[in-house]
């Protein structure tokens, strides 16, 4: 049994006048212990996919089996418990509570599962040690560097011992050297047996992962070895992007010819 089974997932946003098909037919599995990149341009549906994987949202149709349990039909509170017990989030902008110390930030998810204050403290300390921040426990986020903040966020994701570590552009707000440190940390965590899903638009980052899944227009277009998937469609995509840009420019110039007041009409 795979840790994650996505069965014909679709997600449609009803905007009243129009319907947006963010995900059209997503169907793949992730095994326990895998390190998978979900790669795609912005607007490809990868964020929607990440929200569903993270149980922050539920699919319109299809089933999402997490550890064999269908979580696509759960109620709000049950989803909150699943997030707490099964998933560790790492966000692009770290999302630490500004007024809380590193230790308090890491303790936070444990409060929501009713862990005693003493046990919380011990576990949070251990998690901070694991990301080499054992000496920064009482620093506020503002007193930490970007890389350190992201490490605190990773410690917060790890402290609950989740089944799935879900990282959304974890290096997006970091310079390349610090980003590299974070990637190494993820690789280490993977080596230690953690299941990691990393969502990114950067092919370079996806190429570092053992497996990558490319999402385009709400569909999985490639799934395989990270290095191969990350770059194989790049030329097609570049071409498509160039075409889209050209079309946009054409439209813009078409619009500019119809400035109000000129009275000109194109027949």
């Amino acid at each position: 049994m795979a840790l994650i089974e996505l069965q014909h997932i679709t997600k449609t946003y009803d905007l009243g006048l129009s319907k947006v098909h963010a995900l059209r037919d997503i169907d793949f599995n992730i095994e326990k212990g895998e390190f998978v990149a979900i790669v795609g341009q912005s607007g490809s549906g990868k964020s929607t996919l990440m929200n569903i994987l993270g149980c922050l949202d539920v699919p319109t149709t299809g089933a999402y089996l997490l550890g064999g349990r269908d979580v696509s039909t759960l109620a709000d509170d049950e989803l909150a418990d699943v997030r707490n017990l099964e998933i560790g989030f790492v966000f692009q902008s770290f999302q630490l509570l500004p007024r809380a110390s590193a230790l308090e930030n890491v303790e936070l998810p444990l409060i929501y599962r009713g862990v005693s204050p003493r046990e919380r403290r011990e576990k949070a300390k251990a998690a901070l040690d694991r990301v080499q921040l054992g000496d920064r426990t009482h620093h506020k986020p503002t007193e930490l560097s970007g890389g350190q903040r992201q490490r605190v966020a990773i410690a917060r994701a790890l402290v609950t011992d989740p089944s799935l570590l879900l990282a959304d552009e974890p290096t997006g707000n970091l310079d390349s050297a610090t980003g590299e440190d974070i990637i190494r940390l993820f690789l280490e965590l993977h080596a230690a047996g953690n299941t990691i899903v990393l969502v990114t638009h950067e092919p370079k980052l996806a190429a570092r992962c053992p497996r990558a899944v490319r999402v385009v227009d709400g569909l999985v277009v490639a799934d395989g070895e990270g290095q191969r998937v990350a770059f194989e469609n790049q030329r097609d995509i570049d071409a498509a992007a160039a075409a889209a840009l050209a079309a946009q420019q054409q439209m813009a110039s078409g619009l500019s010819q119809r400035e109000p007041g000129t009275g000109a009409h194109h027949g």
Partner: protein, 436 residues
């Protein structure tokens, strides 16, 4: 060939166990989340000191006003109860005047014949139920020793039975006796204020006082201090035998006759007094009484009506000020929710349930209102104390009012905090996380 295209790594078949939060854990979780919510609320208060202080001021003024007004009314109640206790709960007062009567029947009452010695004797002879019957006449006059004189002293003329009608107690010496009345001695009993004024460092018993313009009397007893009622001392009093009073101030005064009813037989006694007096005064069956038998509970009734009105007004003022304070709370809570939308998203992503978020923001609202309530209570007590010091009103702070003040402020926090808290709890985690 076909096998070669299969993925190299076979799917791991390791069993995956469902994680669950156990029953006891989920009970414990409620308390741990509550504790966290309270800590968060206080942290937030400290972080936004000025904002919190302004809102707290709003609530405090509301609660303070209510407590001050209630304390003042309670003080009024207290002093009134004191005043009434002087009258004695089982004592009936026969008088030409009707207590608590309005202006309209003043003329009617004025034209009644006065209550006099004849009525007193008729009651002594005819009424079997009263345990004691005491005639009381009164005036105000000067009392003094030599050049040292006090104005406006209550002079009362009565008999030995007066003591039983309630109110006064003898501290030293004795009260009047039947002998004093029969032979019209110059004995007098003085209140505590007179004792202080004339016998500061001397023995009052046996002292000689000048009463009114003409007569003199000898102090044979002193009374226990009664204190103030409505800002007036009840201890500026001098009691004489009825006969001596008549000699000094004139005998043809309308009197009040106090009759002490046996406990539990006040109504019957009242009936009997009315019958005896109607017979004595030869009032025909179709005529109204030309006297009134007064009871303290009649005054109590009209007094309670007055204070009830005050209490209602105080309550209304309190509700309005708390309403204003509550709107203040709602305002800062809405701002707080807006500011911390991303934080809410993070908490939700990490496993906070809707109820957890609701609890957190409700705790914050209640923390503000509760601190406001406590400050307001202190404020109210301060104002009440100040009023008691500088005005003749006395103020009484009862514990029930304190509970009411703090309880009301907490209720306000809950009432006005529920909407912002609910709007926080109903946020979608994704949108909250995306909020800038």
């Amino acid at each position: 060939m076909a096998e070669a295209t299969l993925p190299a790594a076979a799917p791991k078949r390791a069993p995956i166990k469902h994680k669950r939060i156990g029953f006891w854990r989920s009970i414990l979780r409620i308390f741990r989340e509550l504790r966290e919510a309270i800590v968060q609320a206080l942290t937030s208060l400290v972080a936004h000191r000025l904002r919190a202080a302004l809102t707290i001021t709003g609530i405090a003024i509301g609660v303070g006003t209510v407590i001050a007004i209630y304390s003042a009314v309670a003080g009024l109640d207290d002093s009134f109860a004191k005043q009434l206790s002087m009258l004695g709960p089982n004592t009936l007062y026969v008088s030409k005047w009707s207590w608590g009567s309005n202006r309209e029947n003043w003329w009617k009452l004025r034209n009644r014949p006065g209550v006099g010695r004849g009525d007193y004797r008729a009651l002594l002879a005819g009424a079997k139920l009263p345990e004691a019957v005491a005639p009381i006449v009164g005036t105000q006059s000067t009392v003094g020793i030599g050049e040292h004189e006090l104005q406006n002293i209550d002079i009362r003329g009565t008999t030995d039975a007066f003591l039983e009608s309630g109110g006064f107690q003898v501290k030293h010496g004795r009260f009047l006796t039947s002998v004093d009345e029969e032979i019209g001695t110059d004995a007098c009993i003085i209140g505590a204020d007179l004792e202080d004024a004339f016998f500061k460092n001397a023995e009052p018993l046996g002292g000689r006082l000048k009463v009114g313009p003409m007569s003199r009397c000898t102090v044979v007893g002193t009374l226990v201090r009664k204190g103030n009622a409505f800002g007036q001392s009840q201890d500026k009093v001098l009691i004489l035998p009825l006969s001596s009073f008549g000699r000094a101030f004139g005998a043809k005064r309308s009197m009040t006759i106090a009759a002490v009813a046996p406990i539990g037989r006040v109504r019957e006694t009242e009936e009997e007094l009315i019958q005896v007096l109607r017979t004595y005064r030869r009032i025909l069956p179709d005529q109204d009484d030309n006297f009134t038998v007064n009871r303290q509970d009649k005054i109590l009734q009209s007094f309670n009506q007055t204070t009830l009105a005050l209490k209602v007004v105080a309550g209304l003022i309190g509700v309005i000020t708390l309403l204003v304070g509550g709107i203040g709370i709602m305002n800062i809570m809405l701002v707080s929710v807006k500011e911390r939308t991303r934080e809410i998203g993070v908490r939700r992503a990490l496993g906070a349930r809707r109820s957890t978020i609701l609890l957190q923001f409700l705790c914050e609202a209640v923390a503000v209102s509760c601190v406001g309530g406590m400050v307001g209570t202190a404020l109210g007590i301060g104002v009440a104390w100040f009023l008691a010091q500088v005005t003749p009103m006395s103020a009484a702070v009862s514990p029930s009012v304190l509970l009411l003040g703090v309880g009301f402020s907490i209720g306000t926090g809950l009432l006005f905090g529920i909407w912002p808290a609910a709007s926080a709890a109903l946020l979608q985690p994704i949108e909250a996380l995306r909020h800038e």
